[in-house]
Symmetry: C4
Subunit: 266 residues, 4 copies
Amino acid sequence: MKVLKNKLALLVDDEQGTMRGTAFFEYFISALIVANMVAIVLESYEEIMPVYGDWLMNFELFSIGVFTVEYLIRIWVSDERHPELPAWKARWKYMTSFLGLVDLLAILPFYLPYLLLMDLRILRSLRLFRLIRLLKLNRYFTSLRLIRNVILKTKNEIAVTVFLVFILLVLASTLMYNIEKQAQPEAFKNIGESMWWAVATLTTVGYGDVYPITGLGKLLSAFIALLGIGIVALPTGIISSAYMEEFRELKGKTTSCSCPHCGKEL
Amino acid sequence: MKVLKNKLALLVDDEQGTMRGTAFFEYFISALIVANMVAIVLESYEEIMPVYGDWLMNFELFSIGVFTVEYLIRIWVSDERHPELPAWKARWKYMTSFLGLVDLLAILPFYLPYLLLMDLRILRSLRLFRLIRLLKLNRYFTSLRLIRNVILKTKNEIAVTVFLVFILLVLASTLMYNIEKQAQPEAFKNIGESMWWAVATLTTVGYGDVYPITGLGKLLSAFIALLGIGIVALPTGIISSAYMEEFRELKGKTTSCSCPHCGKEL
Amino acid sequence: MKVLKNKLALLVDDEQGTMRGTAFFEYFISALIVANMVAIVLESYEEIMPVYGDWLMNFELFSIGVFTVEYLIRIWVSDERHPELPAWKARWKYMTSFLGLVDLLAILPFYLPYLLLMDLRILRSLRLFRLIRLLKLNRYFTSLRLIRNVILKTKNEIAVTVFLVFILLVLASTLMYNIEKQAQPEAFKNIGESMWWAVATLTTVGYGDVYPITGLGKLLSAFIALLGIGIVALPTGIISSAYMEEFRELKGKTTSCSCPHCGKEL
Amino acid sequence: MKVLKNKLALLVDDEQGTMRGTAFFEYFISALIVANMVAIVLESYEEIMPVYGDWLMNFELFSIGVFTVEYLIRIWVSDERHPELPAWKARWKYMTSFLGLVDLLAILPFYLPYLLLMDLRILRSLRLFRLIRLLKLNRYFTSLRLIRNVILKTKNEIAVTVFLVFILLVLASTLMYNIEKQAQPEAFKNIGESMWWAVATLTTVGYGDVYPITGLGKLLSAFIALLGIGIVALPTGIISSAYMEEFRELKGKTTSCSCPHCGKEL
């Protein structure tokens, strides 16, 4: 029993585990998560459900089974990773960690109707929560760390940029609403609808379902579209700088150097 | 009286004020400004006005009251911040500062019709000036400083880029007008209308209401759209570089040195 | 005569000239160039020509007069700037310089019909050459130098990027033509038309006049659109780096530095 | 014979060859490749085929001939470049190299029907493989090396970005499918169709054939479009940083040193 637990602890541990089984286990869970996504996409096809509906339901039951077993194992062996803590504390620590909650939320929507004896009709919308399973992949992406560091480092400036964009959207859509509401009472019915135009213009998406037709409206639209270029430049500049810093720190700057003029070591 | 004035001076002073009231006062004014924005958006909904119209009007009166009191207090206590100046000079200094003018313009549109005995019909368009209140938020965003520094540092290059974009827009729309006016006399009626196409293409918004249909027009459009990529690259590059400089200066790193042996620059 | 020539040489010289008249002369010519652009735009409005047509024609005659006199003066005084050369050589040097040719081309289209005794009908299309006058502004923008340096520095990489984009456009439009020609024989009539779609997608303009409707076509379109993001990233990265280098060189890196750990001067 | 082989080896060798013929040979092959592309484009024009069809077929035969001879020569002389290897090994090395395979694939589709005695109808779709000839240009672009280095250096981060984009697309389109399927059962028929909207929005292409019409859908669309700006910023920042590093390494600059007094890193 003790040996089995030890082996399982190594199996599900993605950081220390070096057994051959660990890599296999990781690939298996990753593949299952991706297959779950594919299943969600397939279920939305009307042509597919009558033919493969049963197959997809069985696959869902199989996935729930695997994820439930995985969750229970992770709870069970979590005291191995924190031998300094009492067993229940180590387990509680895992269960309330970010990845522990993701593991729970990935299976909970399936059990909830049975637990709460709710109407089965509401089960349908709960299916969407299966998307949370994608977050389980998080565990295996160490390469994400650099990008995460950069985003964390720049989160203040990004937040200010988002705030500036929001202010700009409110200003632009209020002005446009007042300019266009008489020419296009339907498309610019209120400032909320006007904001739909503002987002499409500032992000340069430009679906083409709403656009100004008056001269003044076109002038404002042109101005906002040109500002959109600057809006792209701001976060890009911020993120570029943060990347450079991160790169330089990773490289470890201890290369000793010699003067290019006299050749002496510094 | 003197004590009260002192307390109020600390209360409205967002830089030195450390009393607990200061933070509360700042949050209260910020929340009121944001609520004002929401009110402007809500007023534009036809469904909302008949039901909540009175409530929104009362909220506007309340806001005007708070902002007026705030403005008067700021005038009154401004001599506390500049003890070296005579009282009227310190007050005049505040009233003509950028934030002082914003504070005034945020409430003036409400009083103007009464002051000038104007027709009340014009009052409607004055309501738009309430958007100026958003600029009052400026006071509380110290994080904006980095972004403002970067923009100020690059303002010459940005201005040149804007000028280049403008020249490009005039050139492109004059050419396109001559190419397309016979195939689409309505969409490319004059160079002004043609410029609407030029902006939509250069900024890559592409609403799809105006686009060339002749072969030559499509060629020009493709060329302008590809140039649009370069137009995005220019300000992005400028802003990225300025950010890097700003970061490095903040960190207090010396960027380069001279060799201690021969004295030449490295 | 000699004195007048000297004064004129200083007047039109935008680099050495320090007289008060020089700045005035520069502003006058710049304003005239901008006014010429405005006139070209105005002439395209059908409503304006019958009313202000005579006025615009007179303005054109006035502009031609000023630019002709300016050109003749510049030829006359160009030997002052190169006293080491014989007079005719100095003049020929100016006339064949880039700005000298621009000065000539800005007025030539007006005189050409008289010189060649051509039909006046062709005069219409020659009017477009008046756009060349914008290039005269080039003389006064010293701030453009930084941007020009950056573009020159990166011209090899930009050229390679343009080449890659071109290859990508040919590949994408050939594939899309083969995929969509049966579903939309009108929109994807040949590879030329298909390239119109490719440009709109790769530059993310997306007018919406042409888009794939088959599943495979949408897949290719999605792939090209995502590549479009990379296409924006390449020149932006190139230009950012070049800017940084340029900035660093401008700053002169001779700031002596001390070790942040022991405080000693290096 | 030996002399001819030596000459041919120098002729086709784009790295060591310095004879006048080498440059000519390179330009000739490059021009032929570009002309092949133009021919593919021209063949798609219905107006052109009846008139110039024979000419284009002859040009194709001529191209195949040249490329076949080039391929055979390259096989024959490849032992000259690797004198240390036995002849057959040197030849096999070329034939299995990337450029060797490209050279083969550029001509193989023409011979395949004769080799396999297949139906000639399938020959048509094989013509598309002629696009592979473009890759032959690869040989002559040494300037591509910097861009290739940058892409190779950043391939991990780019891959993670692509993965993030993919996750985001699946999430966005699943949500949008559930939001919009009742309002627009045709446009958002299944998650696959919904993904078409997601790509168009996230890349800011915005064709305008599919867009949300419900309030919640517009909110999600606005959110995704704003995220699109961040999606552009990520690869741009990554590539910018890599460029800077590459530039600095090319320049041979030591990026940082250690203090000569206390030995600590600066």
